[in-house]
Amino acid sequence: MMENRSFDHMLGGLMKKYPKINGLTGNESNPDMNGTMVPVQPNAKFQGQLDHDPDHHFPGVDLQIFGGTPPRPGRVANMQGFIKSYATQGTGINASHAIMSYFPPERLPVLTRLATEYAVFNGWFSSIPGPTICNRAFAHYGTSFGNVDMNLFYIQDPIQSIYERMVQAGHTAKIYYYDQQSSTMEIVNLLKNQPRIFGSYSQFIGDCKGNTLPEYSFIEPCYNDHPGPGGGQILASDQHPDHNVQEGERFIANTYNAIRTKQELWETTAMLVVYDEHGGIYDHVVPPACEADGKSAPADKTGTAAPFNFDRLGVRVPAILVSPYIPRGTVVPGTEDPNGRIFEHACIPGTVTNFFLKNYDQRTSREKNSNNFLAPLTDILRPDDDCWVFDV
């Protein structure tokens, strides 16, 4: 799971060549603080353009989605508040336009190749219109336990993480953090209480080589720049602004290669590349409604003067499923198609639980009813010569 980039920012440029991908026509725009309409631009930079971390806390995302209309019954989402939101952070008029930037596909050779070689989801959204911690909670627990912010929550709920569920049922599961200097994000309670379900990225690589990968693995990128062993330099690979996007590409490529180059693993593994939330960066698709998960965040927690009932999703994020059982160029339709399917991070524990544990009830009904992200898999194995390897 990567950090803080929207679908259009990373993959929107693919629509020109691949019209089924719900990306950018080039005519999408947002008003700036002067009221000038600013179109999307294929001028995203790897680093240095979003050094002022764009706001992605709940009130900021509310502004981005609703264009500044305060919460009231019947208000309509228009995705017109992205520049306004960025401008309120003291970026200046011109710098605030950077929030509309996107990458030309050739600038992201790893992500765009995986998206076009395997399956890309047109309709995968962050679970909450808010920041990292609560969104990542959905990937681990299928719920954020009523939280919409970055606070550490103390779980007093019968809902267990997907890893605990797996291990208790006699299956294997592991969270691989990058290294001790980067560590894990959001689930420090698990690190304290269940250290056996953790490993490092170098252990992940070793487990791939030794064909000892658990049945379910969650892989975390490096979250900070720090010295490496022997005097080297470890770069953050999470792609969180303003970390270098290229290093994230290399991380994804290395992870893919570790599976791809081990034949037994390649033929039995599905790899999902997904981003936790959009990081305040523009996307043109209005987030749809979703099944509420029975929780409510009060107005003083949302910061918008209105409570949030977890009944609509956050901004759309890149999501790609990789497997040799997926036909090249698979596009899973989203909200643009009447028969499209909606995905969000509760689909992760939802799909894994349904796949390994079948009838498991101690989870939210939202997770239980979530769409199966393994649906693009077929029975036909692509020839080995038909699948790429990265030279990293």
Partner: protein
């Protein structure tokens, strides 16, 4: 990569200038530290001093604190020093020496690439 693959895509290197461990921490890392600090409070033994996390301003400082806490909670995640095979010439000499009964050669450790 031992096996030859038909379809190989080159991935560009990240420029060295991208590295900056003096970068101020983001809100995300700040919260990650706060979460670990809550755990630190729970684990604190009498006489031990709690880390003053308000002094953590840069990614380097954050990484040092995270390493300290993670090593405490999950020592199994420590990087193990790798044993690197000696160069071929040394191996040949060692083999020759062994066959002549001259004893063992010392193993050498190479520098690790860390990117």
């Amino acid at each position: 990569m031992e096996k030859k693959y038909k379809l190989v895509a080159k991935v560009p290197k990240t420029p060295k200038s991208a590295y900056d461990h003096g970068r101020f921490i983001s809100s995300l890392i700040e919260h990650q530290i706060k979460h670990f600090h809550e755990i630190e409070k729970l684990l604190l033994k009498p006489g031990q001093e709690l880390t003053d996390i308000t002094k953590i301003k840069t990614e380097l400082q954050a990484s040092e604190y995270l390493k300290k806490m993670t090593a405490l909670l999950h020592p199994q995640g420590a990087e193990k020093p790798r044993r690197v095979a000696p160069p071929r010439k040394t191996r040949k000499r060692a083999k020759a020496a062994k066959s002549k009964g001259k004893g063992k050669t010392k193993s050498r450790r190479g520098k690790r690439k860390s990117r």
